[in-house]
């Protein structure tokens, strides 16, 4: 994983609530044995028509969406299946953060493990971002803040351990492997 300290990017907005992981990447694209190249199937049934042509009215297909690394989404983003292909597809497309008022538990966990930053904001902040698609925002992982273009600094929750992993670019597996003796002691007493 790469270290994640700051990110400044314009936003893309998908305002729907309850955007599920089947919507993020439909199940028929999960017959893969790698994690690469899933970006082209991101939001596939929403982004392309039945003939595979991009739908002009879909936010990610707008010229202004090119290069945007921050997705602003409606409440309960990432609900449904546990497929890690969802954050893999978002990251392969170029996203590095998702801002919402609520993010589903398994998606949030999967996102953090891949360096995709889940950013929970109050309703009013989310509403403002939805009314102003394409604005440039800055995320500061060390300060746990989202800076809006009008100068507002919005704090977001990020637990210390996840923050450490992001800032240092380390994954959790190393931490668990370093606890082998403790784990084996548990196994002996259990």
């Amino acid at each position: 994983m790469h270290a994640f300290t700051h990110l400044t990017s314009r936003t893309v907005v998908l305002a729907d609530a309850n955007i599920d992981t089947d919507r993020i990447i439909p199940a028929r694209f999960l017959t893969t044995t790698t994690r690469d190249g899933l970006g082209k199937q991101l939001f596939a049934d929403w982004r392309y028509d039945a003939n595979g042509a991009p739908r002009a009215d879909f936010a990610l297909n707008q010229p202004t969406a090119a290069g945007c690394q921050v997705l602003v989404a409606g409440r309960n983003f990432g609900c449904g299946s546990s497929r890690e292909h969802a954050p893999w597809a978002l990251m392969d497309h170029g996203f590095r953060a998702v801002i919402s008022t609520e993010i589903a538990d398994i998606f949030r966990s999967n996102a953090l493990k891949n360096g995709l930053l889940p950013v929970l904001v109050p309703e009013a902040v989310s509403a403002w971002l939805m009314q102003h698609p394409g604005v440039e925002v800055t995320l500061d992982v060390a300060a746990r803040t989202l800076a809006l273009p009008d100068g507002r600094q919005v704090s977001f929750p990020l637990e210390a351990f996840a923050q450490h992993c992001l800032l240092e670019g380390v994954d959790e597996l190393g931490y668990l492997l370093a606890r082998a003796a403790q784990i084996e002691a548990y196994e002996r007493r259990a």
Binding site: A15, D16, A17, N18, D20, D22, R23, P26, A27, R28, L30, T31, T32, T33, T34, R35, D45, W46, A50, G74, R75, N76, C79, G80, S81, S82, R83, E84, P87, E102, A104, D105, I106, S109, N110, K113, N114, E159, A160, F161, D171, E172, L173, Y175, L176, L177, R179, A180, Q182, I183, Y186, E187, A190
Partner: protein
């Protein structure tokens, strides 16, 4: 040890803490049983290979194949190639990974293969008080036995393979008290759909649900599995039901359940698991079972659900709601009853156990499915299939005009090519009605096996009580 009263969830959590959580670090939680399948494990094995790691406890790991596998007998047993090349590669990758890392695999032609959440309980592997994980969100199913069971992503599959542990923050406890008797024709599926409709698709986020009360106590094990299965559809981390005599009677004598003296020891530990009187739940919701009718979804998430006699609701000004109804081809105020149905799917980890097949078969016996309708019956496991065939249920389905397939996830998510065509309506006993879930443009109506069977007979959404 704290003397404070504990919930079932508190007890299972505490018993599995290798180290407790602190302000700076999550808990290290030990995992008793790790179930893996072909779709969410290959990238985890790749990480083990890259880092030169072994599977820490292969004896606590069981693999099967279910998600992308064919349900046509010719492709499972007849030597015909698996029709989807990428699915065939996933099956081959799981075989190779299990052989290389010493993990037991119930492979494509194995007599005990099936949907991962059907075979765990069926084999007696899933037991009260365990921690159980799988790279699949419907792992919540195993909570029916009093286990703490939850879905994980592929990175975490790698963590469990390598260390038998996960780093976890402790979720909150949420009590769902259900009292009263379910009316005839109203099933466990209707109960859980009503619960998801009541608390919402994110009502359980950050929580572990405990289903409690006399209604839950009166459910048999397979009904309890249906309820716990859909905990994730309310956003919950897991769903649990305290073990009781129903649980022990279900487990006794199963091939991988403890036997003899080990059974007696296990039983005494299991009897200490139910929540203590006065245990604290962060949230409590009461549900009245007698008020529940057969339920059916009309929208694009499982919380968009109404009684079968109801009408599609209106939400003026809600653009996402309007878009969902456009996707479904339904309009506010329209009764859901008599909506034309093209496909009926009886299957999935929610409703493909023997009791589900029996209920549907009882309604279909001596009847025929509607002209032009396609009905797929996909047993939850090869064992369920054999047991159903011993009872002659396969004949009932075939004589009614349905297809009788080999076990697997099948049309629940359409990975194996069992798909609903664009624009078609499917009454499905599965768990998700998300856009595109059963195929691009497919329109899913989630319901019970009884409602599915009744709707198959008439070709329209039908209240099963009219045919019972």
């Amino acid at each position: 040890m704290s003397a404070a009263p504990q919930t079932l969830f508190d007890k299972v959590w505490q018993q599995h803490e290798v180290s407790a959580e602190s302000a700076s670090a999550p808990a290290v939680l030990y995992i008793d049983l790790h179930l893996i399948h072909e779709v969410t494990s290959p990238q985890a094995f790749s990480v083990l290979r890259q880092r030169g790691l072994k599977v820490h406890r292969p004896e606590r790991t069981l693999a099967t194949m279910d998600h992308s596998t064919p349900t046509h007998s010719a492709q499972v047993f007849g030597g015909a190639p698996i029709a989807i090349d990428s699915a065939a590669r996933q099956v081959a990758a799981l075989e190779k990974n299990c052989a290389e890392f010493g993990v037991e695999l119930l492979a494509l032609r194995h007599a005990q293969r099936g949907i991962v959440h059907v075979i765990g309980p069926e084999l007696g592997l899933s037991q009260p008080g365990q921690t159980i994980v799988c790279g699949d969100s419907h792992t919540s199913t195993h909570g029916a036995l009093g286990a703490l069971a939850f879905g994980i992503g592929t990175t975490e599959v790698g963590h469990v393979l390598a260390t038998q542990c996960l780093l976890q923050r402790k979720p909150k406890a949420f009590a769902l008290n259900v009292e009263g008797a379910l009316a005839p024709g109203v099933t466990a599926k209707d109960l859980i759909l009503a619960i998801v409709g009541t608390i919402g698709v994110d009502g359980g986020t950050g929580h572990v649900l405990e289903y409690r009360g006399m209604t839950i106590r009166a459910l048999d094990m397979e009904e309890r599995m249906t309820v716990c299965n859909m905990s994730i559809e309310a956003g919950a981390r897991a769903g649990m039901i305290a073990p009781d005599e129903t649980t022990y009677a279900y487990l006794a004598g199963r091939p991988r359940a403890p036997q003899g003296a080990a059974w007696e020891r296990a039983l005494s530990a299991w009897r200490a698991l139910p929540s203590d009187a006065g245990a604290h739940f962060e949230r409590t919701v009461d549900i009245e079972a007698a008020a529940i009718e057969p339920m059916i979804t009309y929208g694009t998430n499982p919380g968009m659900v109404i009684p079968i006699g109801g009408q599609i609701p209106a939400r003026p000004g809600d653009a996402a709601f309007a878009r969902a109804l456009t996707y479904m081809g339904l309009t506010p105020g329209q009764p859901i009853k008599d909506q034309k149905v093209n496909v009926v799917f009886l299957g999935s980890c929610t409703n493909a156990r023997l009791s589900d097949l029996r209920q549907a078969a009882a309604l279909l016996r001596g009847r025929h499915i509607a002209r032009g309708l396609k009905m797929l019956v996909v047993p939850g496991s090869q064992q369920v299939k054999r047991e159903a065939e011993t009872e002659g249920l396969d004949r009932v389905f075939l004589e009614a005009g349905a297809e009788w397939r080999e076990s697997g996830c099948s049309m629940c998510l359409g990975m194996n090519g069992d798909l609903v065509a664009r624009g078609e309506y499917a009454v499905s006993t599965s768990n998700r009605n998300f856009e595109g879930r059963q195929g691009a443009g497919a329109r899913t109506l989630l319901a019970s096996p009884l409602t599915a069977a009744a709707s198959a007979v008439t070709g329209r959404v039908t209240d099963p009580r009219e045919l019972m």
